[in-house]
Symmetry: C2
Subunit: 282 residues, 2 copies
């Protein structure tokens, strides 16, 4: 399978820029040209200086000249781009996004991208808490999980998306869009909100001498970029709500066990410790 001769990246924040950097330095035949655009002039200039693109576009519609178009903005803007550019996609062009929630994106693709053209939902699980092209590091993509979600039965587009992920050095995980959103609400989106809530409460403690290293770990996710977190929480709100209700039930069960006595709480905490060990050391 020949790599696409032109890749357009719309959105040159941390993810868009590092995808461009990784594609331009990928081993093998590689892509012919990487072009990019961002509505923020400073972000697109930074992408060019970080060598995340061969050249900049004059506007998003010029992306329609590429074989592969990657939407790497927050989810709300991804959907806007799909509405705007999707209907104008031609046969054999493929659209892939990198948004953190997938059902809304995949539904927009189903609606606005014509049958002949290709569209695949994507979500690379990487990136640090600092946004922007200056924190782009293509090493973060190597070995990272890159979720791909089918939009319709279209093996050719999935092949192109898989080839993209391979060039980035990431590992494909194919998931149904709603399953992705259900799982991510629990493994990422809700934990971000919980960290924010714990930070609000602990930060209100007037005695920094009482802060522990454990607490610092617990609030680390609250240091993430607010615009990024708001973007995926709002795009996945129903699942995040459901996950919040589950969390409340878990906390209620722990409190009820505690009320019965330490010997009832310990086995619950033992089970949680096993789960935490499965999540790994961080």
């Amino acid at each position: 399978m020949t790599p696409p001769s032109r890749v357009a990246i719309l959105g040159t924040g941390q993810i868009g820029t590092m995808v461009g950097m990784a594609l331009r330095s990928a081993p093998g035949p590689g892509v012919g040209e990487v072009v990019a655009w961002d509505r923020d002039p400073a972000a697109r200039e930074a992408c060019l200086r970080r060598e995340g693109a061969d050249r900049l576009l004059n506007g998003p519609e010029e992306a329609l000249e590429a074989d592969l178009i990657i939407l790497a903005t927050p989810v709300a803007q991804i959907v806007e781009f799909i509405v705007e550019l999707g209907p104008r996609l031609r046969s054999r062009q493929v659209l892939v996004d990198t948004g953190s929630s997938k059902l809304e994106v995949v539904r927009a693709m189903q609606r606005w991208v014509p049958e002949g053209a290709g569209a695949i939902g994507g979500h690379p699980l990487c990136g640090g808490s600092e946004p922007g092209p200056w924190s782009a590091d293509p090493a973060l993509l190597r070995g990272a999980t890159f979720v791909l979600c089918r939009v319709r039965d279209d093996p050719l587009s999935m092949g192109t998306a898989r080839q993209l992920v391979e060039m980035l050095g990431s590992t494909v995980l194919e998931l149904d869009a709603s399953e992705h959103d259900r799982l991510l609400a629990r493994s990422s989106h809700l934990p971000h909100l919980v960290a924010a809530a714990v930070a609000e409460m602990s930060g209100a403690v007037p005695t920094p001498a009482l802060f522990s290293s454990g607490l610092r770990g617990a609030v680390r996710l609250a240091r993430s970029d607010p615009a990024m977190v708001a973007s995926f929480v709002c795009a996945n709100l129903e699942e995040v709500r459901a996950a919040t209700r589950e969390l409340s039930l878990h906390l209620d069960r722990l409190l009820a066990a505690a009320a019965s006595g330490e010997e009832y709480l310990v086995p619950e905490l033992e089970a949680a410790r096993l789960r935490a060990r499965q999540v790994g050391v961080g």
Copy 2:
């Protein structure tokens, strides 16, 4: 102020053992003798081998021959020791504990320690997630906050307790017992339960490829010793319950903001980020 000629430590887990190690290697005149006991023979032998004591006692009642008695067991056993040994304390003897919740301990001290003898509630904020004498490291005490809580108006005993904290290399923070418990519920006890609940939910995600480094930080506290966490949660249950209700309100507010739109959620997350930065990097 002369250091106590004999210090008895009851409970030779991580904290008891490292307090003994620190006292025996403290600069200056130092204490005459450190004696220790634990109901677990393996734990007391380990304390001796770690040089956390000069010798072991044959039973807890022999601690009554010391000038300073340190109770370093989980809170429930601290209270049992206060009931058992408190009434037998003589004038100029001082009892200090190291439990993670203070109101229950201080109330037991008020009730069971006679007026002539001394008693001070204590809580060193240090220690890792691994319990036991083999993870004792006196370096953890250096620079750590050591909360002291008055039991009654007794400057002499407070002086002895302050001298103890100084010999450990820790920093005294005097707090009212109920204020300690209110703050610790928010900065430590609830975060432990939340980490357990998030670990339960995320651990149930069948796809480890979806776990992020942020999530690993969020569940780190769930890797703590279950017996230790159960001990302080149960001893501080009313405050932990109140803190859980507050957390729910915070989460509800974040969800309501998200329902109104990203532009409403972002400022909430900005505020949480500021708080998280106050808590520090961990």
